[in-house]
């Protein structure tokens, strides 16, 4: 079965550079979530999209932005990178929660971002 695809799997950037992470949800899933997981930490919710509109926002820095495109893939854009941005970034997708929140999210393998 198709899973959530994230690219790239690994990314190394220097401070103050920009990075773009891509997420391709499971086919027919219309909701995408982004999470950040620091070393030894639990995943922290960043932002979510439902039907290409932002549906919820968590602890996403102002330096980060995200969007969901017409084909439902999503991109997380990160600017002015800081050392503290080094983390595993997960994308997850689910089908039509429609605001009810009762469906599970399926996670991708993650993108490991290292800022040096």
């Amino acid at each position: 079965a198709a899973g959530v695809i994230q690219s790239p799997r690994h990314l190394i950037k220097e401070k103050r550079e920009t990075a773009t992470l891509k997420c391709y949800p499971i086919p027919r899933h219309d909701t995408v979530y982004w999470y950040q997981q620091g070393p030894g930490q639990d995943p922290q919710f960043l932002i979510s999209f439902y039907e290409k509109m932002q549906s919820d926002k968590g602890s996403i820095p102002d330096r980060f932005s995200a969007q969901q495109f017409s084909d439902y893939h999503s991109e997380l854009n990160m600017s002015s990178l800081e050392l503290g941005d080094s983390a595993l970034y997960f994308c997850a997708s689910s089908l039509n929660t429609g605001g009810f929140g009762n469906t599970e999210a399926f996670f991708g393998q993650g993108t490991r971002l290292t800022v040096v």
């Binding site: 995943p43 979510s48 929140g101 009762n102 993650g110």
Partner: protein
């Protein structure tokens, strides 16, 4: 605000023994509860969920979880542990109408041969 607590950072269980990984939650209204497992350098893998109905839900790999509304708990259980169950386990919760899935801090489960 919703929150999830996993009081044990580490749980060690002998192979073949029953295991329990604890989770308590706080959400507004009816909770939707989930368990995920994470293997090293891998994404989170869905195990099971509670939405409504029977308090005991069964999931993948022989895992089950018991929803207790009065104690606001959703403990993960398995009757007989396998060495391959060793991993990091996350409990997650969201309230009705909330897209944000809130995770606990994770419990590292180690099954001792």
């Amino acid at each position: 605000a919703q929150s999830v607590a996993q009081p044990e950072d580490q749980v060690n269980v002998a192979e073949g023994n029953p295991l329990t990984v604890k989770c308590t939650y706080s959400v507004s209204g009816n909770p939707y509860l989930f368990w995920y497992v994470q293997y090293p350098n891998r994404g989170l893998q869905f195990l099971l969920k509670y939405i409504t109905g029977d308090n005991l839900v069964k999931g993948s790999y022989g895992f089950e979880a018991e929803f207790n509304k009065s104690q606001t708990s959703f403990h993960l259980k398995k009757p007989s542990a396998l060495v391959s169950d060793s991993a990091l386990y996350f409990c997650a919760a969201r309230g009705f109408g909330n897209e944000k899935l809130t995770f606990g801090t994770g419990t590292r489960l180690t099954i001792i041969p």
